[in-house]
């Protein structure tokens, strides 16, 4: 069952990543200054966390390898369909993640009004593209709500950027 193997692989790969993380985290902890006057020191707690994470990662890998296969769609056609939907969804979310990073990068240069309008419109388009009114409402709604919440109520000055 290839699909089962896919799921298994997911947890096994995560387990390995976590092991590497635990190793780095634990090694880093060995460089911290030792404690004084009875204090076990700054490195002890992180070292224990690293050991714990390592053990949990091994547990995750082991349970992924021995657990019974999850109930998966057996019909190959429907499974291909499900996979396609999942992939499209992942791409939408990944684009939104990149957009969020771009929003942060442009926030001060463009100012909050322009960047927020662009960001909200773009995220809205990721949800649906069939109705430009919806996109417009999302963009206007985001800017209006932000302005009301932060500028009017919270009295927090937001960067104006190009409009400033």
């Amino acid at each position: 069952m290839p699909s089962t193997r896919r799921f298994l692989r997911g947890d096994v790969v995560i387990g390995v990543i976590l092991l590497v993380l635990a190793l780095w985290y634990g090694l880093e902890a060995q460089n911290f200054r030792p404690g004084r006057a009875g204090d076990p020191g700054a490195g002890m707690f992180p070292t224990l966390l690293a050991l714990l994470l390592g053990a949990l990662a091994l547990w995750l890998i082991a349970s992924a390898l021995i657990s019974p296969p999850a109930d998966e769609e057996t019909d190959p056609e429907r499974r291909a369909q499900q996979l396609a939907i999942a992939r499209a969804g992942f791409i939408r979310a990944a684009i939104a993640a990149v957009l969020s990073i771009a929003f942060v990068a442009m926030f001060e240069t463009l100012g909050y009004i322009i960047s927020t309008a662009l960001y909200a419109a773009a995220v809205s388009l990721l949800f649906r593209r069939d109705n430009p009114w919806i996109t417009l409402i999302a963009a206007a709604g985001a800017v209006g709500f932000l302005h009301l919440l932060f500028s009017v109520f919270l009295n927090a000055r937001l960067p104006m950027g190009l409009l400033g």
Partner: protein, 522 residues
């Protein structure tokens, strides 16, 4: 302390601002609770900067109102559109939505409202009666006992918030690891990569926003876009239709469920979802007709709703008595209390009696407000879920990014929020729960501090951690919970799932048969 009760009640009778803040909090809470993806935690985190300049009591009752309203608001969408506003409302959804399908949404909503208020009031009364007693007891809680209590909280959260215990524990450890970033308690910088901003640790508000707002938006984007379902309109004349049904259910079930909820709440870390789950399971176990649960019976709404609301009162007990927040919401409220100069612990009850008691009265008052808000405004609030996702979620995304900026007035905080949001989304994709991460971050310093201090006192001998009965009992409870959720519960769940699956197949077969017969007789 109880002698001052009339005075505290009088405070509410005479201060309109106070009453106003309770109402505002409840309405806001119900609103955010009803929007899937928004939570009371997030609302309180966003409002935190608002409250700095407010008098302590006003700030605290506002947040209590949001907490109370938030837990309840989620049940409306659970019933009306089969989307639980919070995990705590999942059990309500089972029978609530069935009841809606039977054409009785007003009964379902009315029962949910009444059960919430009843549970909340029981929780509030227990809070007033027991918190001062427990606070006195808290002097027994020295470093080893606090260490054990935090371990119990972390294990409980890891266990109940995820289907797989190991993933819950991994999420907890990740949170603990995040909490070690920055200068440690003895002044040693850790995991700062020599970045100035990281010396003070990962900022909490951007972290909360990233975990619960941005990650949710990204998760929603992964699902295929679906138009929100239409919501039935409820006429005002029917808002009391639940009363005869409630009478038929009786008082025993809500009382029992509330007690379960309050006890669960007092256990730090267990949370509302577990309270609802256990009360539902107990109602089903003790019912003469357990097979009817899930088909739209009133007991299936009353039990979880009274329990998860009684939990809120219970959850204040460890927060006020020990300064250990029981869940994400109380953790954020605790932060707000500290800003106001209120320090949990035995001294709180000795010195700030003029604050603690009004707080508790405000808590009970919030439930009375909820009764009215719930019945009058619920039909509208349920419609929040009808807002098109393509409008709702872009606004949530934009507000969360800008809120992160405002919280620290820095682009660094924004970047942290986005990085954590993306990380949280990826974790959630692989079925890691996010609540344990937050609890790990919040409780991490407490855990490390008491651990290191205990070892310092004993000269490095770890036996000090099990040197008192309280510590032993707490650690054994934690171990038992871990065992139960790693071993016993998955088996039970699998069996229950199989039964449900069989029942569903049978019902579908019956419906198909019924349709066919209908088709045959025009």
């Amino acid at each position: 302390m109880l002698a001052e009760l009339p005075q505290a009640i009088g405070l509410f009778a005479s201060d309109f601002r106070l009453v106003g803040f309770v109402c505002l909090g409840v309405i806001l809470g119900v609103f955010v609770g009803a929007v899937p993806g928004l939570t009371a935690t997030l609302a309180i985190a966003l409002l935190l900067p608002f409250t700095f300049g407010m008098p302590a009591l006003e700030a605290v009752v506002l947040m209590t109102g949001i907490f109370v309203g938030g837990i309840y608001g989620g049940s409306a969408t659970a019933i009306m559109v089969r989307v639980p506003g919070a995990p705590a409302n999942t059990m309500t959804m089972l029978d609530g939505y069935e009841m809606l399908k039977q054409g009785k949404p007003e009964v379902a909503l009315g029962l949910a409202t009444a059960a919430s208020v009843f549970g909340g009031l029981v929780g509030g009364v227990l809070l007033i009666l027991f918190a001062p007693q427990l606070a006195r007891f808290s002097l027994q809680f020295q470093s080893p006992e606090i260490f054990a209590l935090v371990v119990l909280a972390l294990v409980a959260v890891a266990a109940v918030s995820q289907e797989s215990l190991v993933k819950g524990l991994i999420a907890t450890v990740m949170g603990l690891m995040i909490s070690t970033v920055g200068i440690d308690l003895a002044g040693v910088p850790r995991y700062t990569f020599d970045t100035f901003r990281l010396y003070t640790g990962v900022p909490l508000i951007p972290l909360v926003i990233g975990l619960f707002a941005l990650a949710e938006v990204l998760r929603r984007l992964e699902e295929p876009h679906s138009r929100p379902k239409q919501v039935a309109w409820i006429s005002f004349r029917k808002i009391f239709a639940f009363v005869p049904v409630w009478r038929q259910v009786g008082w025993k079930l809500p009382i029992k469920s509330s007690l379960i909820g309050a006890v669960i709440g007092a256990l730090p870390g267990a949370g509302a979802a577990m309270a609802a789950f256990l009360a539902y399971a107990e109602a089903k176990r003790s019912s003469p007709h357990p097979e009817k649960f899930g088909t739209g019976i009133p007991e299936g709404i009353v039990a979880p709703e009274s329990s998860n609301n009684a939990m809120t009162g219970g959850a204040f007990i460890p927060m006020l008595a020990f300064g250990i927040p029981g869940d994400a919401v109380t953790a954020v409220i605790l932060g707000a209390l500290v800003i106001q100069g209120i320090v949990p612990g035995p001294q709180l009850f000795a010195q700030a009696g003029d604050l603690v008691l009004p707080l508790m009265v405000g808590f009970i008052f919030a439930y009375l407000v909820l009764m009215i808000v719930g019945l009058v405004m619920l039909p509208w609030f349920a419609r929040v879920a009808v807002i098109d996702h393509a409008v709702l979620f872009p606004i949530i995304a934009a507000v969360s990014v800008v809120a992160a900026f405002v919280s620290e007035r820095s682009v660094f905080a924004m970047g942290t929020m986005v990085a954590i949001g993306i990380g949280a989304w990826l974790m959630q994709r692989y079925r890691f729960s996010l609540v344990p991460v937050l609890l790990g971050v919040i409780l991490g310093p407490l855990l490390e501090r008491n651990f290191r201090r205990a070892l310092g006192i004993s000269g490095g001998d770890p036996m000090i951690l099990v040197s008192s009965w309280i510590a032993v009992i707490l650690l054994v409870t934690a171990a038992f919970m871990a065992f139960y959720f790693a071993w016993v519960q998955p088996r039970q769940q699998r069996r229950a799932q199989q039964e449900q699956e069989a029942a569903r197949l049978e019902r579908e077969a019956r419906e198909r048969q019924a349709r066919e017969t209908e088709g045959n007789t025009p």
